[in-house]
């Protein structure tokens, strides 16, 4: 059953230097209780995509086209007050930098109680505090610490608190924007594990946004690969891992460190992502593509279906 359905989504930023189309005609869908991973380099538009879903773009950004349907209802048609209902309650959001995502002058307890009473104003405070205790225990923070302030916790613990806040109202969807990028590798694994646990506990769907293909292959049911604002390949993780069709996906897989292989030379994809103010006329990956040919320089391939649920945007595959 499809929970989230994004279609033809286009988001732009107006800057002094021109208009940047950060998300270009993107479509994806998320099944209930499944995990979708969105992978891409910085500049690929993945974070903008996340912010577009909850409609929290900065002032110079706006969604110019498309629809975002949560349970059939198009979020783009809602008023700001209605969106406030959705945020936190139906969609939980986790941000990248735990060090700056919590109110520096608020106790941890207050963060939770404020959240609960905001959405359910009739809740008595003691009940909210009880729920806080529960949540903190669930995410692995000792409830006795709830009167402390964010700066007294480490990055990993703060991210746990953020996860706790995201699931507090039992959302249907959790969007995690690079939740582990600011953390060290060992903590990363723990946090991702926690995310998985919460997903199961609350029967929620998760959209995991990251640049780390390894994480996504390991934990996600489905994957969408983004490049320069477009989805270039999407499908189940088995499909992506076993049969990567897009040259970019293949390159990403190549450069993902793999313990099982013996060669340890770090690899990188040659070249750099395109300047979004100055996009090439044809396929955006063409300058770095090992198998590009003439047509790639002048036309942009369409996204086509190559197998059940496996889409790719490449002329080599008939796009």
């Amino acid at each position: 059953m499809v929970l989230l359905n994004v279609n033809s989504l286009t988001t732009e930023y107006r800057t002094e230097a021109g208009v940047i189309r950060a998300v270009d005609d993107v479509a994806l869908s998320v099944e209930r209780t499944s995990m979708l991973g969105i992978v891409g380099e910085s500049g690929s538009g993945k974070s903008t995509l996340g912010l577009s879903i909850i409609r929290l773009l900065p002032p110079m950004g706006s969604i110019v086209k498309g629809s975002i349907k949560l349970d059939g209802k198009d979020l783009l048609s809602l008023s700001e007050e209605e969106m406030e209902e959705i945020r936190g309650r139906k969609i939980g959001y986790i941000f990248q930098d735990p060090l700056t995502s919590l109110n520096p002058v608020g106790k941890i307890k207050d963060h939770f109680v404020e959240l609960i009473t905001n959405h359910e104003p009739d809740t008595p405070v003691e009940q909210a505090v009880e729920r806080t205790r529960e949540l903190l225990a669930q995410v692995g923070i000792s409830p006795e610490r709830m009167d402390e302030y964010p700066h007294q916790f480490s990055g990993g613990m703060r991210q746990r608190i953020m996860i706790g806040l995201a699931v507090a109202l039992r959302p249907d969807l959790i969007v995690a924007d690079e939740p582990t990028t600011a953390l060290d590798v060992i903590v990363q694994a723990k946090i991702l594990g926690l995310l998985n646990d919460m997903q199961k506990t609350y029967d929620a769907a998760v959209v995991l946004i990251t640049h780390n293909l390894g994480i996504v292959l390991e934990r996600c049911d489905n994957i969408a690969v983004m490049y320069a604002g477009q989805v270039v390949e999407s499908g189940s993780s088995t499909d992506i891992y076993g049969d990567p069709l897009h040259p970019y996906t293949r390159a990403l897989l190549d450069t993902t460190p793999n313990v099982e292989l013996n060669e340890q030379k770090p690899k990188a994809i040659p070249g750099t992502p395109p300047d979004l103010l100055n996009l090439p006329r044809g396929c955006r990956f063409e300058p770095r593509c090992p198998v590009a040919f003439d047509r790639c320089k002048s036309e942009i391939p369409d996204l086509i279906r190559k197998g059940s649920g496996h889409d790719v945007r490449c002329f080599r595959e008939g796009g």
Binding site: M83, E85, G88, Y93, F95, P104, M162, L165
Partner: protein
């Protein structure tokens, strides 16, 4: 480190600063070409007169002795004797200070309210014409000499519209006497408070009337700084991660505005209030002169006209002490507002 030790450290740190300032002032007055006593006399006075004054004020003693006397004197509360009539400078300073204090408090209140309000408005309409206008206002107000603002207000409200008095602190004879019971009197020297203590609403209204133009003048002048700072801080906090994260949790817009953006933006403003107190005192000097307000600033200016160097020294010392103590109080209070410092 708990609150206690932070406060203790902070107090300890103030002492060297005060000592340094006092030493600075001491040598400063004596670094003059010639000597303070000589310069005091405009025309050539008879040598015996000069010597006598020099001796009476202790300027003929070795410099180290003078310094020790001076420092010990400050601790005892003795700021020397006026060159004009040998009356204790500390008495004069203490009787003039409450007027400056009252003016400063009201001006600061006006500056903060006007500045913060306009700053919040400006930040919420970022880059609109309202924003530009407000920023220009903040800049223009600071570029205008305080006394010019004062004079314009006097012209408009005092002489033109006859709404407010243009000089002085109180209608002659109506000075509040505070609260008397038994044999003691409680008088703060602040006319607004004293008139309340006395239970006399007429004096209270009068005090406010006289206070109005000077404090609006000084307050407007400083509001520019608070406007700029509030706007800048709000722009930071309105788009800070924790604010966006709060919105992402569906918190109502008003909650986000006050508990997240404003609350965090106002923290540095509090410190700024302490820093600006120094600028306030400087501005008070000019304002008091413009409005003939009988405070410490006007006292200083009068003593300068009389070339009363010991009184000048005493007044400057008092200013230094007030500034140091205020900054200490502000820092300590701030540590209660920002848990990051305390815990």
């Amino acid at each position: 480190m708990g609150s206690g030790s932070y406060i203790a450290t902070r107090i300890l740190m103030t002492i060297p600063t005060i000592v340094l300032l006092l030493t600075f002032i001491f040598f400063f007055v004596r670094v003059l070409p010639g000597d303070p006593v000589l310069l005091h006399f405009e025309k050539q006075a008879r040598p015996e007169v000069i010597e006598s004054l020099r001796h009476q004020l202790g300027f003929d003693r070795p410099i180290l002795d003078q310094y020790l006397d001076y420092m010990l004197g400050v601790i005892r509360g003795d700021l020397g004797k006026s060159m004009e009539d040998f009356s204790p400078v500390s008495e004069q300073v203490l009787s003039a200070f409450p007027a400056t204090l009252e003016l400063s408090i009201f001006s600061m209140i006006i500056a903060v309210i006007v500045g913060v309000l306009l700053g919040v408005v400006a930040s919420r309409s970022y880059n609109s014409s309202a924003d530009h206008f407000l920023r220009f206002f903040g800049v223009a107000v600071y570029a205008t000499p305080i006394f010019f603002i004062g004079m314009l207000l006097q012209l408009l409200f005092g002489i033109g519209l006859h709404l407010f008095p243009t000089g002085g602190r109180m209608y002659p004879g109506m000075e509040p006497c505070g609260l008397s019971f038994g044999g003691t009197t409680i008088r703060t020297g602040l006319y607004t408070i004293d008139s309340i203590l006395e239970g006399n609403p007429v004096k209270f209204i009068l005090a406010l009337e006289y206070l109005f133009l000077p404090s609006v003048t000084l307050g407007l002048y400083l509001s520019g700084i608070f406007l700029r700072l509030t706007r800048s801080n709000m722009l930071d906090t309105l788009f800070a991660e924790f604010t966006i994260a709060a919105k992402a949790r569906g918190l109502k817009a008003k909650t986000v505005m006050y508990s997240y953006a404003l609350r965090n933006a106002l923290l540095p403003i509090f410190t700024m209030m302490g820093l600006e107190f120094a600028a306030l005192l400087g501005g008070a000097v000019l304002t008091e002169t413009t409005f003939s307000w009988p405070g410490l600033g006007r006292y200083l200016v009068q003593r300068i006209a009389f070339r009363d160097y010991t009184a000048i020294q005493g007044a400057v010392v008092y200013f230094a002490l007030v500034v140091s103590l205020t900054s200490l109080v502000v820092d300590v209070a701030y540590s209660y507002l920002d848990p990051r410092i305390r815990v």
